[in-house]
């Protein structure tokens, strides 16, 4: 075990997969010499050479589309987008070419798209988005979103090995702030939910940076038995774990950092409302960003992004319900 930051854990997964599987190649804007906008692939060019660590033109459609072609030809490309926000620029190739490929043609596209997501550092409307729900609504694309260094490593390893397009949402705000123990060897974490905290009175469902916020929020709620389920994988969604947890706890709070309408949380809420009706002892509460672009200035951003305080209040309300 070593103590790694979330960012180091991502690098570690990439490095180990590249060492063991020569078909893994990295590509993206400034990933080679510069080591990526966030320095995730720093040093990779030296170790793996420019055939495997590839600086690309600014062409998100082409990054995804050529990755599909490279994947079909026997490679396992891992693509970095500089910010998750640019997924809109490669959207067509992702949803129409990559996502539908296996269903239509029986061909595998073993590609991973790394999206640095999320806000919390005054990134403004174009550097703070959480686009995972768009991809959840696009058949054929797996979507994962780790909250801890250990999961970041294990889920990225699984993503790279997966024969399908996997979008890996890595939360920028966790990159250097979040540290944790990570096994030194390579390991693959399954695309299932993870129980972060056990409890019986209330279940909180969340993922990404909101896991930390939720954990902090409930720590001060003395006497309450609160469970936190880190969804980790959004596609596939761990419906069994969600239904079991919601049914057992009877009260449910769902937290998304993304804009609320049609977000991942909406899907989780609808599943619980359909499958746990008889067990529920209160309304299904959701917390998410309102439907606005994420503003830049810290007080505005703080007003928009869900945080510890809002989660704590909602949890308290539900416990009192």
């Amino acid at each position: 075990m070593s103590e790694l930051t979330y960012l180091e854990a991502i690098s570690d997964a990439l490095r180990l997969e590249m060492r063991t599987d020569p078909s893994v190649v990295l590509m993206g804007e400034d990933v080679a010499g510069f080591g990526g906008a966030f320095k995730v692939t720093s040093g990779f060019l030296n170790e793996f050479g420019e055939d495997r660590v590839i600086d690309t033109p600014i062409s998100e459609e082409a990054i995804v589309g050529t990755a599909v072609g490279m994947g079909i030809s026997g490679l396992r490309p891992v693509c970095e987008f500089q910010f998750a926000d640019f997924v809109a620029c490669g959207f067509d190739q992702l949803v129409n070419v990559a996502g539908k490929l296996h269903y239509r043609l029986g061909l595998a596209a073993p590609i991973t798209i790394r999206l640095p997501t999320g806000g919390g550092f005054a990134g403004g409307p174009f550097h703070s988005q959480n686009p995972e729900a768009w991809l959840m609504h696009a058949p054929g694309i797996k979507v994962v979103a780790p909250s801890s260094p250990a999961d970041a490593k294990g889920l990225l390893t699984s993503a790279i090995r997966d024969p399908n397009p996997v979008v890996f949402c890595e939360h920028k705000h966790l990159y250097r702030r979040t540290k944790g123990p990570v096994e030194e060897e390579s390991y693959a974490t399954p695309f299932t939910a993870r129980r972060v905290r056990q409890g019986d009175d209330l279940a909180i469902f969340t993922y990404g940076a909101m896991v930390e916020a939720a954990t902090e929020a409930v720590e001060s709620l003395e006497g309450a038995s609160i469970e936190i389920l880190d969804l980790r994988s959004l596609v596939p969604l761990d419906v069994d774990a969600i239904v079991e947890t919601a049914g057992r706890c009877s009260k449910v709070l769902i937290v998304d950092e993304a804009n609320g309408t049609c977000a991942a949380g909406a899907q989780v809420a609808s599943l619980i409302a359909e499958h746990c009706f008889e067990q529920l002892d209160g309304p299904i509460r959701r917390i998410a960003a309102p439907d606005v672009p994420i503003p830049f200035s810290p007080p505005l951003e703080a007003a928009v992004l869900p945080g510890v305080e809002r989660i704590r209040e909602a949890a308290r309300d539900l416990l009192d319900y």
């Binding site: 082409a62 990755a67 072609g69 490679l75 129409n96 070419v97």
Partner: protein
């Protein structure tokens, strides 16, 4: 008029490609006739209400997909579009399975998942197209990138139309192919129209003139001359395999049917259609082979139309897909069963000639 630049000097080329044997030539004509017969029969079935959805064909453009694909090695994948049935045929897709595809049957190429010409037999190295134009150019570029990085002597081919050149993906593919000098061939079927839109509303300057601005070699050929298309593709392929990078081949042609079966193309001046009728690629090539090889084209035609009729009958007898199957296979469980084949095409132009010579 979208066709100002498309001056095709019919039958001007004298001897055709020196690379082709007589057998090759007969095979080329056979594929041309087969494509026309398959699509003709498909259209008839569509008009009888037996083909669900819509119907698209490549009438008048047969020489392009046939000639280009004929020049490829078995390991060179193609990404055909809606006018490119010839690519499927040359690569060896079964005619029965194609009718099954039209009819949405379980034994159609895509098992009923995809319609009309949106299919691809992956084992034969054919990638089925998506509607979004010209996304497959980008995918072909990625295939070529894979070949280059893996040190494989293969090239990838993508077809696209004049209209598709306006889309951002066209630019990203061209730029990418040029930057990495990839073994990819882009085949522009310039038929002067994108649906009802003539090229002068699509671009101010022909795409051929743009290609060199990407470091992509470019040439223009008579798209209704199958050997010209063959030869240009053959050359581009050798350049690609030598490491000389990508080529764009403009094939000047005319779409002789509407955009789809629903389109009577009343927006196209009749004289233009008449003019191009006289340059029909199949008539021209039939004439040539009658003259040069004394080929009995009529019996070839009859033979093919019988094959096609039988295949269509067989397909009509295929079962519809099982609704239970509708939701399986969105994700790949086992990659080993889902790879692109290396192709089994009996014909592949120059390489085929060599094979034949060796076998002779």
């Amino acid at each position: 008029m979208g066709l100002g630049a498309n001056n095709v000097d019919a039958d001007a080329r004298p001897g055709g490609s020196e690379l082709l044997t007589s057998n090759d030539r007969v095979a080329l004509l056979r594929y041309l006739l087969l494509m026309r017969a398959v699509e003709g029969k498909g259209l008839a079935l569509y008009k009888q209400g037996k083909v669900p959805g819509s119907f698209y064909d490549g009438r008048g453009q047969e020489a392009i997909s046939v000639g280009a694909t004929f020049a490829l090695g078995p390991g060179d994948p193609v990404c055909p579009l809606i006018r490119d049935m010839g690519a499927h045929l040359v690569k060896g897709t079964s005619v029965e399975a194609i009718f099954g595809q039209y009819l949405g049957r379980a034994e159609g190429v895509s098992g009923g998942r995809e319609g009309n010409i949106h299919f691809g037999e992956r084992r034969l190295g054919v990638l089925g197209m998506v509607s979004m134009l010209p996304d497959m150019m980008v995918v072909a570029t990625g295939l070529a990138m894979g070949f280059k990085l893996r040190g494989e002597e293969r090239c990838a081919v993508s077809f696209f139309g004049d209209g598709a050149t306006s889309v951002g993906d066209w630019h990203e593919a061209m730029n990418w192919a040029g930057v990495y000098r990839l073994p990819v061939i882009f085949i522009l079927e310039n038929n002067g129209w994108a649906y009802s839109t003539p090229t002068n509303k699509q671009y101010a300057v022909p795409p051929l003139e743009r290609a060199r601005g990407y470091g992509v070699e470019a040439r223009s050929v008579d798209g209704n001359d199958v050997e010209a298309v063959f030869e240009a593709t053959h050359d581009a392929r050798l350049a690609a395999l030598r490491g000389d990078g990508p080529t764009l081949i403009e094939c000047r042609t005319m779409r002789m049917h509407g955009h789809g079966a629903h389109d009577d193309m009343s927006y196209v001046p009749t004289e233009l259609v008449e003019e191009w009728s006289s340059r029909d690629p199949i008539d021209r090539y039939s004439k040539r082979l009658r003259r040069d090889l004394e080929l009995d084209v009529d019996s070839l035609r009859t033979e093919i139309s019988e094959t096609v009729a039988e295949a269509a009958e067989a397909a009509l007898a295929m079962p519809m897909p099982d609704p239970e199957e509708a939701t399986s296979g969105v994700f790949c469980e086992d990659q080993s069963g889902a790879t692109l084949g290396l192709g089994e095409a009996p014909w592949s132009g120059f390489s085929a000639s060599e094979v034949q010579q060796a076998a002779a």
